[in-house]
Point group: C2
Chain length 159, copies 2
């Protein structure tokens, strides 16, 4: 175990630990209340992702003003993340439009995002969206054809 | 913590612990190898679910001969399950036909499936498929409208 709580290994993402499971939803307030009832917990606070000037978000290679409302539930060994897209374009908005919402990705804590992205790209899994959050960076890789899902790489900056 | 490793609580499913995340896939051999590369682990064995005579599987209220190939990866606090439908009808086959595969459900270890199913049904989340496996019973509840996903209730029989 590292100080980030992950087991690093020699696989393409460097770990076998799934830290998050995320759903894209149409109405986060309503869906969050329903999950709270199911899980037997209080509804979590709803946050909004940073604006473009802070996140530097890029979707399919271009800067995007897309943002999202987020809610997180602790579910034992994983966090359940709800995502409601605001504006677009983004992988969240495209997924909502294509599927009407649903389970979108699993996430891994990684070290060295650029190297992980290169290794995945060699296997046909390509970066689709990337941006910064306070203290770190997220990267979505489109692995729907290969793995059946989008995967997210989370990397917290050393402080 | 109980002897099943779950934290039971007063929520609708009796626990906040997600124990499994499952994907429906078209080709489990191929997808399983791709996940093994990503996770840095050996491909797991592929099992086939029990036939109707043993599983007593029911889909939308009727017995179904549907089966599935399954593969499981240990991913830290959760297991990642890959499911390739064999025959039909089933929630797996319908999901594959509707979405071309993807993330299908999250699972919870429960006690007293019938009572959990009743509580969920009162909130509009209805049982769609149920069957037995060696030592236990699985139940899929269609919560796509309410939670944005199918949820699975796993109950191991006391032995």
């Amino acid at each position: 175990m590292t100080d980030k709580g992950t087991d690093m290994n020699e696989g393409l993402v460097g770990t076998n630990v799934i830290c998050q499971v995320a759903l894209v939803v149409r109405d986060i307030e309503k869906t969050s209340k329903a999950w709270a009832d199911v899980l037997g917990v209080a509804p979590p606070p709803i946050r909004v992702t940073a604006p473009l000037a802070e996140s530097g978000a890029r979707y399919k290679g271009k800067p995007t003003s897309a943002r999202a409302k987020l809610a997180f539930f602790d579910c034992g060994g994983v966090r359940l993340e709800l995502i409601e897209p605001i504006g677009g374009p983004s992988t969240w908005k495209d997924f909502l439009d294509a599927h009407g919402g649903g389970m979108h990705h699993v996430a891994f804590q990684v070290k060295g995002t650029d190297a992980v992205v290169r290794r995945l790209a060699e296997r046909g899994m390509n970066l689709v969206q990337q941006g910064k959050y306070a203290g770190g960076q997220y990267t979505y890789v489109d692995a729907e054809d290969t793995l059946g899902a989008v995967i997210e790489l989370l990397e917290n900056f050393d402080t």
